[in-house]
Amino acid sequence: MKAKQEKKKTLFIELAIISLILFNLASAQENPFNLEVHIADAHKGMQAGEDLLFTTKILNLAGQQRMDITLNYNILDSQKNTLTSKSETLAIETQASFVGNIKIPENTPEGDYELDVQLIVNNKEEAKGKDSFEIIKKESKTPIKITITLLIIASLIILIFITLILRRLIEKLKIKLKIHEIVKKRVRN
């Protein structure tokens, strides 16, 4: 009796595993690609005119042989209007992960935006991925390092100038004191 129950239990587990495999296979047939788009936190807030850097992970669940895919990148504003787009074709096998970039136009207003990526195989959209980012106020074009360097150079020039003036003043003061001494000595004699 016990052996019969054990056999039934094993059969049940086997059936469950087979069902799971079949289900996954069916899903893979239906949607064989998985696409993940991720913008790093450091690039979540950026300025117009800069390059938006992001990572794209593609997983080919069908596990077919090497195949060509096309990735369409679109930058959309909050109204879903396309601001700029870019497209590239690459060959993948089972999976691929790479860093991509797209230039944000110079005149892009501040606000929230979305990077929308479409994976196209044989002119058919197979997967989609997106991530959001923000365009922040544009800072002065002069990088802080240049500003600091210029300030240091200006300070040095001012310092040299002050030193020269001081040196000149000290020399004059020495002359004045010497003359005072000479005249005083002569008057005494």
């Binding site: 000149r168 020399e171 004059k172 002359i175 004045k176 010497k178 003359i179 005072h180 000479i182 005249v183 000595k185 002569r186 004699n189």
Partner: protein, 173 residues
């Protein structure tokens, strides 16, 4: 007080200086020596029985300090030279005179515009402080360099070999 530029042949220069200094023995003087050392001038003046006790020397020839009561300034440093002259003028009480021997030497070391500016500054300051200025220059072929400087003096005396004195209006180069 007046300012005079005396242009004289080089062989008569010392004689002219002696006469000028001798005529002002009662006043205190500032002697800017540009082509002879203070020691040499003092000796020459003493040889000619001219008292030098009342004369303060600015030696622009010797760079090394030889005597405590002599100021050494480079002829290239007109700013310092001008400052030293004005400081002496301020320090010395009573009637005083300034002798520049020889002005043309400054043109060897400096641009003529700088020398002109220096002369203007000195003559203006001397005039404000009632100091008589007598500048000497040997008459040489290059004396036209003094053209820019003439105008800052009240009087220009040019002594030719035959010892004739002319007013500055007569001097055309």
């Amino acid at each position: 007080m007046s300012s005079t530029l005396i242009i004289t042949p080089v062989e008569k220069l010392q004689e002219k200086i002696n006469k000028t200094v001798n005529s002002m023995q009662n006043c205190t003087g500032i002697y800017v020596s540009l082509n002879k050392t203070q020691k040499s001038i003092e000796e020459t003046l003493k040889k000619n029985r001219i008292k030098t006790e009342k004369i303060f020397f600015i030696d622009c020839v010797t760079s090394e300090k030889q005597k405590e009561d002599v100021l050494h300034i480079s002829p290239r440093d007109l700013e310092k030279l001008s400052y030293a002259i004005s400081s002496f003028i301020k320090e010395i009480k009573g009637e005083k005179f300034l002798i520049i021997d020889a002005l043309s030497t400054l043109l060897i070391y400096n641009d003529e515009n700088k020398v002109a500016a220096f002369v203007k500054e000195i003559t203006d300051y001397a005039s404000e402080n009632k100091v008589r200025v007598i500048a000497f220059s040997p008459s040489t072929k290059g004396e036209e360099l003094l053209n820019k400087i003439f105008n800052f003096f009240d009087k220009v005396e040019k002594e030719e070999n035959e010892s004739k004195t002319r007013k500055k209006e007569d001097l055309i180069y």
